[in-house]
């Protein structure tokens, strides 16, 4: 398969700050990738560069095989929905959708209208008078109705409640199933969308610290807790993260799969074993990266 999005060794320098440091990633046509990481990790910068709204200081970006910068034909195949999207002030919702339809050749007005109803968006209202949640919903409507081969959602749900987010995930999945496209979703609500993601890329301080199929990460680390002696015995010889102890009780995260034999052993040691959620795996990966960096500097 060919990559719809190919990022190779991309760096972005803002004066003396390196927002992206030699980032590489590939997103295949018809696949959903989660771009995860803390605020300031570089997620938005990377998505903006892919959509040619910002420019790499070094490295190469290809979208559908072409450099998107100033290439109108390529740009019409990319939609980027941002959390803090700025819209023209006096425009009404229906007018904004009309404008969007001029930009995107595969635009579906029918879908846009269905989605407006799904998210209770008043077509006649001025965009500047929409609530935060409504504005997010409007971004989602445009992002999905554009039906571009490359669809980028950068934290698209500010102000959306759980019900509206659920609706977003459902509509996104339906649309994606009918018309697969290369998608990147950046989010902090990782566990809500974990099932949608085929691949996960974690950025940390401008670098890729994890790039793996989501299914490989399930069960890739587990938290073991119980009597301290038993925990010590169980984790002996295994890689661990975040070992804690209080009185006679302890817990540790073991890295690597827990087999049925391991699980039986844990039970016989009276230990509880629980797999980390994707969100926890992502958080720990970043934290461990910082811890090992600290060790190197103090050594």
């Amino acid at each position: 398969m060919t990559a719809a999005i190919s990022v190779v060794g991309v760096s972005r320098r803002h004066r003396d700050h390196l927002a992206l440091d030699a980032v590489s990633l590939q997103v295949e046509a018809g696949s959903i990738t989660g771009l995860l990481g803390r605020n300031g990790a570089g997620k938005t910068t990377l998505m903006r560069i892919i959509a040619a709204q910002d420019f790499a200081s070094a490295g190469e970006v290809r979208v559908m095989g072409a450099d998107p910068v100033e290439d109108d034909a390529v740009l019409r195949r990319i939609v980027l929905v941002r959390e803090d999207q700025i819209y023209p002030r006096y425009v009404r919702v229906w007018q904004l959708l009309r404008m969007a339809s001029w930009c995107y050749p595969n635009w579906s007005q029918e879908l846009a209208e269905t989605l407006l109803r799904d998210f209770d968006l008043p077509a006649g209202r001025r965009v500047e008078r929409l609530s935060r949640g409504m504005r997010s919903a409007l971004g989602i409507v445009i992002g999905l109705a554009a039906r571009t081969e490359v669809t980028l959602f950068d934290e698209p749900y500010a102000g959306l409640d759980a019900v509206a987010r659920d609706r977003f995930y459902d509509r996104l999945l339906t649309e994606y199933t009918e018309r697969p496209r290369a998608m990147i979703l950046s989010t902090h609500l990782i566990d809500e969308i974990a099932g949608l993601l085929e691949r996960v890329v974690v950025l940390h301080r401008g670098r890729v610290v994890l790039d793996a199929p989501t299914d490989d990460l399930r069960g890739s680390a587990s938290i073991v807790s119980g009597p301290a002696l038993a925990v010590d015995q169980f984790v002996a010889g295994r890689r661990t993260w975040d070992r804690r102890r209080i009185g006679s009780q302890a817990s540790a995260i073991v890295v690597g799969p827990v087999t049925e034999v391991d699980a039986a052993r844990a039970r016989s040691l009276r230990l509880e074993v629980e797999a980390l959620t994707l969100q926890q795996v992502v958080v720990r990966t970043a934290a461990e990266r910082d811890a090992s960096a600290e060790e190197r500097t103090s050594a």
Binding site: L173, L196, E198, D215, D216, R218, G219, S268, T277, L278
Partner: protein, 125 residues
């Protein structure tokens, strides 16, 4: 609906296999499509397809072109055989281990199992 410890495609395959082994899905019956599974579990269609593929590769499901996926003939028997093997690993071995730790002898254990079985109306003991 899904748990964190195993890959989703494995869980999808396991659940369908369970339904077939339990006879909920009969041999020759159509199973949910990739898209139906994807919408129901809210998972990527590629992941659902991977789960289905596990079962087609092992001959539990068969594809009928243009119609869908169906439970293959003889699938239930094969799945039950596999389950019996796993039953020993998952239940009998830990049962015996815990019994020995509590000082329960084999005879006592058999009596206990017998009694529990009678209470349920007498299963296969």
């Amino acid at each position: 609906m899904l748990d964190e410890s195993t890959p989703i495609f494995v869980q999808i395959a396991d659940r369908l296999a369970d339904e077939i082994a339990d006879g909920v899905l009969a041999e020759g019956q159509r199973v949910p499509s990739t898209n139906e599974l994807s919408a129901y579990y809210r998972i990527n269609p590629a992941t659902a397809a991977k789960g289905i593929n596990v079962l087609t590769d092992s001959g539990v499901l068969e594809k009928r072109r243009g119609i869908g996926m169906f439970v293959a003939a003889g699938a239930r028997g094969r799945l039950l055989q596999e389950r019996r093997r796993r039953f020993v690993e998952r239940f009998v071995d830990p049962l015996v281990a815990e019994a020995s730790r509590l000082g329960i002898t084999s005879e006592e254990l058999l009596t206990l199992v017998d009694r529990a079985s009678h209470a349920r109306g007498g299963a296969a003991v």
